[in-house]
């Protein structure tokens, strides 16, 4: 087995806002093995995107700052690298795919040039050869007429085609890790399924690891090997996907699963919602962030923040009462 490909340890990221300092990511730790797909799942403000951005040090400073932790990738702590060294990793050994392909593509450059750029930059491949490779990559992500499409501009592409181009760009330097932040949220359902299947297929073929940031529990179930559930900036539950879905050990995860309608269930039953509102990161309670919405919460939950602890083999939960849930 050996060392994990990526090891995030006690990562914390803060933002200075008008209303004080907000800790968007709070003491987050997880490991990722080569070839594995990890889903980080959570709602808006849970810290899932900031975690992903922090790994690649893409947090705008100010107002943001990574205040603690390590991100060990290939034996080195990315948080300790100088700007030059981290740039040599981004788009090369770790690639990122964003939700809005239109805002991450340069509208004034051809798609081919943009896919060729990292190949030229990181691999010192001559431009002509790099453009040829771009055409091959576009064919690999099954863009129709890939050869002629290298000369197209992003606005000539549909949403799905742009996201295919983004995946081609991410694959350009054969990264060991791809981080995809809500890569299909802006796309139609049938196109979403195409893009996610493609992403899974190309990462598997290259034995790349994939971090999939999403709010969609269906997407997690279809594509992820492992899951980290985030709430209020912290990981509240982590483990293999099958284990988490079959025996969730955190009331938030249990609540989420009860609150979403499933296509394969008899329609007509009432959903069981999680009452209350998502937490305000500027005013987190002293104890468990989920306590104000949790039906099981007691005195200890309101006063003491539960730490992420082993609840079952290879299954972590940050709940004082994890042992009583689905035991």
């Amino acid at each position: 087995m050996g060392a994990p490909l990526l090891s995030v340890r006690h990562l914390s990221t803060e933002f200075r806002t008008e209303r004080g300092t907000v800790r968007a990511v709070d003491d987050v730790s997880f490991d990722l093995k080569a070839g594995e797909t990890l889903a980080i799942v959570g709602e808006s403000g849970s810290g899932k995107s900031v975690t992903a951005m922090s790994i690649l040090r893409l947090i705008p400073d100010p107002p943001g700052r990574i205040t603690a932790g390590e991100v060990v990738f290939g034996g080195q702590d990315l948080l300790k690298l100088d700007d030059h060294a981290i740039r040599a990793i981004r788009g090369n050994r770790i690639a990122m795919i964003f939700q809005e392909p239109m805002s991450s593509l340069n509208p004034s450059l051809t798609v081919g040039l943009q896919i060729a750029e990292p190949i030229n930059l990181h691999r010192k491949t001559p431009w002509a050869k790099a453009i040829d490779m771009a055409a091959e990559l576009l064919a690999r992500v099954r863009l129709p007429d890939a050869k002629s499409r290298v000369k197209s501009y992003p606005h000539q592409f549909s949403g799905g085609m742009r996201q295919r181009a983004m995946i081609a760009m991410a694959l350009a330097c054969q990264p060991q890790l791809i981080i995809a932040d809500e890569p299909t949220t802006a796309l139609d359902v049938t196109v979403q399924a195409q893009i996610l299947a493609l992403l899974k297929e190309v990462t598997r073929a290259a034995n790349s690891a994939l971090i999939l940031i999403t709010h969609d529990l269906g997407v997690v179930a279809r594509y992820a090997d492992r899951v980290c559930v985030m709430y209020g900036g912290r990981i509240v539950e982590a483990g293999p996907a099958r284990e988490i879905y079959a025996r969730p050990r955190h009331p938030y995860t249990i609540g989420l699963m009860a609150s979403i309608p499933r296509l394969d269930q008899e329609a007509g039953q009432r959903l069981v919602p999680i009452e209350g509102q998502p937490p305000n990161l500027a005013k987190l309670p002293a104890g468990c962030a989920f306590a104000p919405r949790c039906r099981r919460a007691t005195e200890i939950c309101r006063n003491e923040r539960p730490s992420l602890a082993q609840s079952a083999p290879d299954h972590l939960s940050a709940c004082h009462f994890h042992a009583q849930l689905n035991a």
């Binding site: 709602e43 808006s44 549909s158 949403g159 799905g160 085609m161 139609d188 359902v189 049938t190 196109v191 979403q192 399924a193 195409q194 299947a197 709010h215 969609d216 529990l217 269906g218 997407v219 997690v220 179930a221 279809r222 594509y223 992820a224 996907a241 099958r242 879905y245 079959a246 609540g255 989420l256 699963m257 609150s259 979403i260 309608p261 499933r262 296509l263 394969d264 008899e266 329609a267 007509g268 009432r270 959903l271 069981v272 919602p273 999680i274 009452e275 509102q277 998502p278 919405r293």
Partner: protein, 336 residues
């Protein structure tokens, strides 16, 4: 809620839409503007909605589901076709004639952030329709009415004097619903009312819609792209593709036995939140994307992406075929 007309004399079918078309002209030319084409956003849509029922309209972007909702409310111009609301053909009415009818058909929008006026207090937002229609009455009656509307959607009466920015997304959507209820409508068109909300909040709002329907006998047209949510809340579902309804089925049939290849593709594309189920599900993903509504494909509009397309599909537009149990499908495979 007291209604001006007793329910017993109201027709069973609240809404009847027949061959509805909404075409938007596409103009070009910098000096002389002329029409160079049209976007057939809705192109021959027919359906009925019965009293107390929820009809779901589902489909991907550009299918015409939101335009259908706006056309039914006469908030955009109808190119042709008929909209019959509570027995009255409203397709030809002018603004003045629509006014009294608007009271009985309301809309809840997707964006709880953009659809509420940030300068108005909650009491003004919720009570405005009463004022517009001259039903506000004196101050005390008005305040009481607003308080009861807020209570109906699960908000506290003392929230009436606060502004929208003080509320979360789910609460804002409740404010939007209270406003829609102010005039005691019989029909509410809900356009993606939960898609902007966090997953944990969606269920709260979905449940509220269902509770209000049971209490007030409301009829809904529920428009959304999320088939799992639509199927959960709707009694019947109309699946739309490029300006047309391709299939109408009850929520049970739709999942058990989808007839149209597009419905099948849509169902297959939606992952079920259970890794065990997903591992055993055949993953048939259709290729391609929705073509432009300016140039829909000839014949069946879905034939360019249909895994079962036949020769006839490329040239002959399949008519909607009514089947037993109120089902209908527009597909040559089910031509009978």
């Amino acid at each position: 809620m007291p209604s001006s007309t007793p329910d017993s004399v109201l027709p069973k079918t609240v809404l009847e839409v027949r061959d509805l078309k909404v075409h938007f002209p596409v103009m070009a030319g910098a000096v002389v503007r002329k029409q160079v084409g049209s976007v057939k956003a809705v192109d021959g849509v027919s359906f009925d909605v019965r009293r107390g029922e929820t009809l779901g309209l589902v489909g991907e972007s550009g299918c015409g589901k939101s335009t259908t909702g706006l056309a039914v409310l006469r908030m955009i111009d109808i190119t042709s076709g008929r909209v019959v609301f509570e027995g009255q053909d409203i397709s030809g009415l002018d603004r003045g004639q629509m006014r009294p009818i608007r009271r009985r058909m309301q809309m809840v929008y997707q964006d709880p952030f953009g659809s509420l006026n940030p300068r108005m207090k909650v009491s003004e937002i919720v009570g405005e329709p009463l004022e517009v229609h001259g039903l506000a009455g004196d101050r005390a009656v008005y305040r009481e009415r607003v308080a009861s509307l807020l209570d109906m959607v699960g908000l506290l009466p003392d929230m009436a004097d606060r502004y929208p920015h003080e509320f979360s997304g789910g609460q804002r959507q409740r404010i939007g619903i209270a406003r829609a209820l102010a005039l005691e409508p019989s029909l509410i068109i809900c356009d993606e009312p939960v898609s902007a909300l966090d997953v944990s909040i969606q269920a709260q709002v979905v449940n509220l819609f269902q509770e209000l329907q049971e209490r007030l006998g409301l009829t809904y047209v529920f428009i959304a792209h999320d088939l799992a949510v639509v199927r959960h809340i709707s009694h019947r579902i109309a699946v739309m593709y490029l300006g047309r309804i391709v299939e109408i089925a009850s929520r049970g049939e739709l999942y058990r036995e989808p007839l149209h290849p597009y419905t099948q593709a849509l169902l297959a594309a939606i992952p079920i939140p259970d890794p065990e189920v997903e591992a055993s599900r055949p993953q048939q993903i259709i290729t391609g994307e929705v073509p432009s509504a300016m140039r829909p494909p000839p014949g069946c509009r879905f034939h360019t992406r249909c895994p079962q397309a036949m020769d006839v599909c490329k040239s002959v537009d399949p008519p909607m075929r009514e089947m037993a149990g109120g089902r209908a499908v527009a597909c040559h495979l089910h031509a009978g």
